[in-house]
């Protein structure tokens, strides 16, 4: 901890900063312009009826694409730090937990699917569904030894990258059809958004599971379960 005079200066500076923010916020125009009117004017052409989903997946879909890339990068970052043997994470699962999971997991999958579908007309969508799916996956990781040991290379990698690849594919594909990047053909907008969101949901769910593990999955002897050339050691 810092010495007291330094802390006092920092506190005073921060109070001044907060005062600045408060002044700025209080001075904001009460009925200033916003993008609301534009969003609601164009929402009919966006393929969905929930305005937030329309903004996220259609009007500002490019931001969403970059954002799921950030999520993907987090996995790469965590993996670059070392390997973890997943069964070491597990504790013996109590009877109550196992019984609860038998009910909870199917319900969570169903909820995820519903949230994905509902995103078109109500709050919901890929991220919310992906979060629920991720939670289900984490519960599964914590209790089911068999599941943890079968995490294999290619399916995992494909699922992790599916979201970005599908999104980029649709975006670049619409250019091939003569439009701009991510300019969905008006009749197909709803379907395309659903496809993108489904792939993103799977990716996000798997990404959250993988981030929870906290390292690259490895076998008991430290080698990573992938087809590789030569010897591999655990990172020290």
């Amino acid at each position: 901890m810092r010495p007291f005079p330094a802390k006092l200066i920092i506190i005073l500076l921060l109070m001044a900063l907060t005062g600045l923010f408060a002044w700025a916020i209080l001075s904001l125009p009460l009925n200033g312009t916003s993008l609301r009117t534009q969003v609601f004017a164009n929402i009919g052409h966006s393929g969905v009826s929930n305005p937030v989903t329309a903004v996220l997946l259609n009007f500002r879909g490019y931001d969403t694409l970059l954002e799921i890339t950030v999520l993907f990068l987090a996995v790469l970052g965590v993996w670059s730090l070392g390997t973890i043997h997943i069964p070491d994470l597990l504790q013996p699962a109590g009877l109550f937990l196992m019984a609860l999971l038998r009910i909870l997991l199917p319900a969570m999958m169903l909820t995820a699917g519903y949230l994905l579908w509902a995103g078109a007309h109500a709050p919901g969508g890929a991220f919310q569904a992906g979060a629920v799916l991720g939670g289900a996956g984490i519960l599964l990781l914590l209790t089911e030894v068999r599941f943890a040991s079968t995490i294999d290379w290619w399916p995992l990698r494909t699922l992790l990258s599916a979201g970005i690849l599908v999104f980029s594919g649709v975006g670049l594909g619409s250019m091939a059809l003569g439009g701009r990047l991510l300019e969905y053909p008006r009749d197909w907008a709803g379907i395309l958004i659903l496809i993108i969101e489904s792939a993103a949901t799977l990716s996000i769910g798997v990404t959250l599971m993988v981030l929870f593990v906290g390292g690259k999955p490895s076998k008991a002897d430290g080698t990573v379960s992938m087809k590789s050339t030569g010897q591999r050691e655990d990172k020290t």
């Binding site: 600045l20 993008l35 500002r60 954002e67 701009r180």
Partner: protein, 499 residues
């Protein structure tokens, strides 16, 4: 009129998709990297051609157009930034094929997973840089900044070992603080002006409490990410402990990205809001950076740490543009000077870090005291180091010289001669700490330390980038035509002198 092709999309998505593919097909990482690097050259040339023919380029993503959608925007500054990224990026790609080759010896003996993760991380970092330089939407810039930050941190941590991991943690925390400040600024701007598009913000910008708070926040956040003194503490450990190709990218490109944003915000968006006093404050901090960085470089024990402190010092020069552009009629001179500085520093620092990395790779350590006579073992690398140093010190003929000449000119012409003194003194200090290494490296000794064999790609890329830095000095004013497209300041390049 030149036919319009959607080059910006190509420039962003080629590295993005290659990065994901490099993750899926991890054994093809190097090939994908090379394909991307070479594929960006025609894209960038096409964009420059379009720029010269048609003026600043707008591309509306999704067909909606700002302010509802996101726009991509390319003017002279963006294209120069992209070109700089491509130059250093191509060099890094080829350097990394040597550094991360599966058959490396000695320090080059890398775990397979380093290889497997480097290429996706590097390609996605490249995509983030390109996305940032082409974006015209403040929130999109935030996401690109985060993309850049996360990939940079992951690349630093790839080196393993306690010092690299510590440096990565510090870098991440500082980066997140900077990004959050920036995001708060974006929020205030949106609620004040109702748009997220740079162009529309520039049009509707007025001097209000919200815009004042916004520029304070954004400047503080971005200055933190550019490692301006006194917020530079995270840079030396991060750049010194990262793997060699990563140090290059960090010093040459990543710190310039946040500075580019500062330029855009100060000169194009917040013109009515910025005050000369804050501009002078930034200049003073820049001066402090120059002196502090140079002194620390003189005291550094390790070569990579010396080069990292050199980056801290050179970043100080960049911030001189803010006070220098305030002078009467000196706007464009300072503007082109700083762009030239960014460009030549990127190439020269790239070459320097490549050379330093090669030394570390070959000798297993980079303690300056023990690096006596290395020029006998790696003459090409040391030659590259030397010509890069010429550019960083600012001696003719090099890009660094032209940049400093332009800055000096705008300082003297604007009546702010004290900055000129700083620039000249800074050059002397730079020479001092560079020679500290040279005097040992180029000394002739009987017993030369042993050295592992070095892949030729590593030596060649260092040399090429160094030569490019020199070449920038020779081509002189040719790029100015590009600088002028969409430049926010007008005026002669040189005052009282030949253009």
């Amino acid at each position: 009129m030149v036919p319009v092709i959607a080059w910006p999309v190509w420039i962003i998505f080629l590295p993005l998709v290659s990065g994901i593919l490099a993750f899926l097909f991890h054994r093809r990482g190097a090939q994908l990297g090379i394909i991307t690097a070479l594929g960006l050259v025609p894209a960038l040339s096409g964009l420059t051609w379009q720029l010269l023919g048609n003026g600043p380029q707008h591309y509306t993503v999704g067909g909606w157009g700002a302010p509802l959608g996101i726009d991509l925007f390319a003017d002279g500054l963006s294209v120069i930034m992209l070109a700089m990224t491509a130059l250093v990026g191509i060099g890094t790609t080829f350097y990394a094929t040597g550094y991360y080759s599966p058959n490396g010896e000695g320090k080059g003996k890398h775990h397979h997973q380093d290889l497997a993760l480097f290429w996706p991380l590097w390609l996605l970092l490249w995509a983030a840089l390109n996305g940032l330089f082409l974006s015209a939407d403040v929130f999109n810039i935030y996401v690109a900044l985060e993309l850049l930050g996360v990939s940079a941190v992951a690349l630093v941590a790839l080196a393993g070992g306690p010092s690299a991991v510590d440096a990565a943690m510090r870098y991440l925390l500082v980066g997140l603080l900077g990004s959050l400040s920036y995001l708060l600024g974006v929020a205030l701007l949106y609620f004040a002006y109702g748009t997220l598009s740079l162009g529309l913000l520039a049009q509707s910008m007025t001097s209000s409490p919200a815009s004042f708070a916004a520029i304070t926040l954004m400047t503080a956040g971005l200055a933190m990410k550019t490692a301006l003194f006194p917020l530079h503490f995270w840079l030396p450990p991060a750049h010194a402990n990262a793997p060699a190709p990563v140090s290059t990218v960090l010093s040459a490109l990543v710190v310039k990205a946040s500075f580019y944003l500062l330029l855009r915000l100060w000169f194009q968006v917040f013109i009515n809001v910025v005050t000369p006093s804050v501009a002078h404050l930034l200049g003073i901090l820049g001066v402090a950076a120059i002196f502090w960085g140079s002194v620390q470089a003189l005291l550094a024990q390790r070569l990579k740490l010396l080069v990292a402190y050199s980056t801290v010092a050179q970043v100080g020069y960049l911030f001189l543009v803010f006070p220098l552009a305030q002078g009467k009629g000196t706007g464009f001179g300072a503007w082109s000077g700083v762009i030239y500085f960014i460009l030549s520093h990127a190439c020269a620092k790239g070459a320097t870090f490549f050379a330093a990395g090669t030394v570390l790779y070959g000798f297993g350590h980079d303690r300056i005291e023990d690096l006596v006579g290395v020029a006998q073992r790696m003459p090409v690398t040391m030659f590259a180091f030397a010509i890069a140093a010429i550019s960083i010190i600012g001696l003719p003929p090099s890009g660094g010289f032209i940049a400093k000449w332009l800055l000096l000119n705008s300082a003297l012409a604007g009546g702010q001669w004290w900055w000129a003194i700083v620039i000249l003194l800074g050059g002397l200090l730079t020479a001092a700490y560079k020679f500290r290494f040279f005097s040992r490296a180029f000394r002739y000794v009987e017993e030369v330390p042993t050295c592992h064999p070095i892949p030729w790609t590593m030596e060649l890329t260092a040399l090429t980038l160094g030569l490019v830095a020199m070449g920038l000095g020779i081509i002189g004013t040719l790029p100015f035509e590009i600088f002028q497209i969409g430049a926010p300041v007008i005026g002669p390049v040189l005052i009282g002198g030949m253009p």
